[in-house]
């Protein structure tokens, strides 16, 4: 069988906004609960067949945004369009949208089959058609033999799959998932993540997932919207969010990052030089940055983007190398995390891959080490 070639433009419509119409348009949506601003002027375009993750801490407004998409909350201002239709005022029971609840919200007095059939009955489908669809969905989530059970006779993972099947039963254009894996234990969560992506890809339904778990977001999402204090802090593909954060919040929220303050000393179109007393050296950034000389800004670098050595390495431009004393080592098997105290008192976290088995010559506690990085490893952050 010949494998069909996948074209990048097909799978990433958001990269070509001129030729692709967004499927879900959230325009300037604001939601207030009394005086509390839960969602503040959020605009977001989501494309067909995307698996979009809304990522944020508790109280970031991500769940409120999801509930407005489902129709459980009305925006205080702004509009929500789904598939070209204004849905802002449409009640939940008339929306082509289904939701999988964090608590699963399975009807406890109904069997698994009745739960899945509930939405289909509301569409007045024939009995035969309903039972066919229910059987189809049960096999999709691999619960063929559990149709007659009640929800309380199922394990957490099985309940999660029933909730998914029930939400997919009406073949919604858009499926909203509120912390879909939150109640599962770690191992089950990892398995289910891939299953969820597989189902999403095979059905082609647009998924919007709310999660506070960044690992989950990274694994699942085509794109991630990071939310903070009711606003969208950044929207991008997982690699963008991790490698090119647009703000100190995003850099700190996703993964771990070392962040230092610095002052711009050279501002050229091709490079920028930043002096950081915290770091005890100059930072040479190999690309232009929108900033002004003397401007105070921040520079963030991931632990794995730095290299440790005992001898001072040669670096061009007389920058991008500093030294410190190893304070702590956390051995994690595949990598080791070093905490190095710089002269300024600033501590950097550097991770090194343990590529040599049982390395007797590994850098150890209280050693003086040099830390270096390349001129494109860090992110310059102005906000």
């Amino acid at each position: 069988m010949k494998k069909s070639q996948q074209l990048a433009v097909d799978t990433r419509p958001w990269r070509d906004t001129a030729n692709n119409k967004p499927f879900v348009r959230i325009k300037n949506v604001t939601k207030k609960f009394g005086d509390v601003l839960a969602v503040h002027d959020v605009s977001l375009d989501i494309y067909r067949s995307e698996l979009f993750c809304l990522l944020g801490g508790s109280g970031s407004g991500k769940s409120t945004l999801l509930r407005m998409l489902a129709g459980f909350e009305q925006p205080t201002s702004g509009t929500i369009e789904i598939d070209g239709q204004d849905m802002t005022e449409v009640p939940p029971y008339n929306r082509p949208v289904n939701m999988m609840f964090q608590s699963y919200a399975l009807f406890p007095h109904m069997s698994v089959e009745q739960n899945i059939a509930y939405g289909l009955k509301r569409d007045n489908l024939g009995k035969g058609e309903i039972s066919d669809r229910v059987a189809e969905l049960l096999s999709l989530v691999k619960l063929q033999d559990y149709g007659r059970r009640k929800p309380h006779q199922l394990s957490g993972g099985q309940r999660q799959r029933v909730a998914l099947a029930r939400a997919l039963a009406k073949r919604p254009k858009l499926l909203l998932l509120d912390e879909p894996l939150g109640a599962l234990d770690k191992k089950l969560r990892e398995e289910t993540q891939f299953e969820l992506v597989k189902i999403q890809e095979s059905l082609g339904v647009t998924f919007i997932v709310v999660t506070h778990d960044q690992e989950e977001a990274m694994t699942l999402a085509t794109r991630i919207g990071v939310m903070n204090l009711g606003e969208i802090a950044m929207v991008g593909e997982p690699t963008d969010i991790y490698e090119f954060p647009n703000s100190r919040f995003v850099a700190g929220f996703i993964g771990s990052a070392n962040m230092v303050e610095g002052k711009v000393t050279e501002d050229e179109p091709g490079h920028v030089r930043i002096r950081s007393s915290e770091l005890g050296c100059d930072i040479y950034v190999g690309h232009g940055v929108d900033c002004a000389p003397e401007q105070i800004l921040w520079w963030a670098i991931r632990p794995e983007k730095m290299v440790l050595s005992r001898e001072k390495p040669l670096t061009p431009h007389d920058a991008n190398v500093t030294s410190g004393i190893v304070e702590e080592i956390a051995y994690l098997g595949d990598i080791s995390l070093y905490q190095v105290a710089l002269e300024s008192g600033k501590r950097l976290r550097v991770s090194q891959t343990n590529s040599v088995r049982g390395n007797p010559d590994a850098i150890t506690w209280d050693e003086k080490v040099y830390i270096t990085w390349s001129d494109s490893s860090g992110s310059v952050l102005t906000v």
């Binding site: 489902a70 939940p92 939701m99 399975l106 406890p108 007095h109 509301r122 009406k170």
Partner: protein
């Protein structure tokens, strides 16, 4: 007379007083748990089961003049003990139309009152359960508030509303409407029972409804159910335990109700409580009254037990 202490015997261990009591009781085979259970068991025995047995005993005797006004069950005569059980009180219950009519009428009035109470109480319980947190306790307090006044007083107050020149008729008179006859009718009895027993319906319904997860209603709406469909398919079946509990709490006392029909009802309002009263105080026929009471108890208890079995089956599912 003192004896020298034997050094091989260890000095007696000091026991806390409670330990000693516990050991003493344990010797007789009584544990602390039994003591805790003993209190309610004793209470029920002395104030419920023994009186019930006495009533049952009286129901099997026959009326006689004197004190007590019924014949003894056991008679001793020249060394023989004779047990005389009169069943004619019970036989009369089934042969005399008055009793059958009174039972049926009581059940009918209690049933209709329960249904009305359910229809009035359900929306109230639902509204309280869905009210904002800070309102909920205030509203619940308002439901219980009538209990702070004497029950008798409240029923009397209703007559002030419903009598010929009462509040309601005076109000109607303002619009030139004819006064309504409400007192001494079944209508007044229904009003009295529904008013009095409404809190007993609202409270169990409230406790069931407040526990229901809001996301269940949202899930139902999300799957395309309009509010009425959500109510019928989700809210109603899940509040069934509350409906059953509330209905029993209204139905059982309403069957034996005496005060409300005698104060508000007319002469044709036939209820078993009144028959019992007449039998006991007017006719001074204690055995007959006792038989009426025992029959009423059975008539209520047997359906309730069946209902409760059905309910626990529902809960298990």
């Amino acid at each position: 007379m003192t004896t020298a202490r034997d050094p091989t015997i260890p000095p007696p261990r000091r026991l806390k007083p409670w330990n000693a009591v516990e050991r003493g009781l344990a010797k007789v085979g009584i544990s602390g748990r039994m003591l805790v259970l003993a209190a309610p068991v004793l209470w029920l025995l002395v104030f419920f089961l023994i009186p019930l047995a006495v009533v049952f005993g009286i129901s099997l005797s026959t009326k006689q003049f004197g004190r007590p006004p019924y014949s003894p069950l056991l008679t001793t005569e020249e060394g023989t003990v004779q047990l005389t059980l009169h069943l004619n009180n019970y036989i009369r219950l089934f042969t005399d139309n008055l009793y059958i009519a009174a039972y049926l009428s009581s059940i009918r009035i209690a049933f209709i009152s329960t249904v009305i109470t359910l229809f009035v109480g359900y929306p109230m319980a639902y509204a309280i359960a869905r009210a904002p947190d800070r309102w909920r306790n205030i509203l619940l307090m308002l439901v219980i508030l009538p209990f702070f006044t004497s029950f008798l007083l409240r029923v009397y107050a209703l007559t002030g509303f419903m009598r010929g020149n009462g509040v309601i008729n005076q109000f109607l008179g303002l619009f030139g409407l004819e006064p309504l006859v409400m007192m001494q009718t079944d209508f007044a009895v229904y009003v009295g029972i529904v008013y009095t027993y409404l809190p007993f319906m609202i409270l169990p319904l409230y406790t069931t409804l407040v526990k229901l997860d809001v996301s269940l209603f949202e899930a139902s709406a999300d799957l395309g159910a309009r509010p009425l469909r959500t109510f019928l398919s989700v809210t109603l079946p899940l509040s069934l335990p509350g409906i059953i509990a509330g209905s029993m709490l209204v139905f059982i006392p309403a069957i034996g109700e005496y005060v409300i029909p005698s104060l508000l009802g007319g002469p044709e309002t036939l209820m078993i409580g009144r028959v019992l009263w007449d039998e006991f105080f007017t006719a001074a026929n204690w055995p007959r009254a006792a038989a009426v009471a025992v029959a009423m108890l059975l008539a209520v208890v047997i359906p309730i037990m069946l209902l409760q079995r059905a309910q626990s089956a529902v809960v298990e599912r």
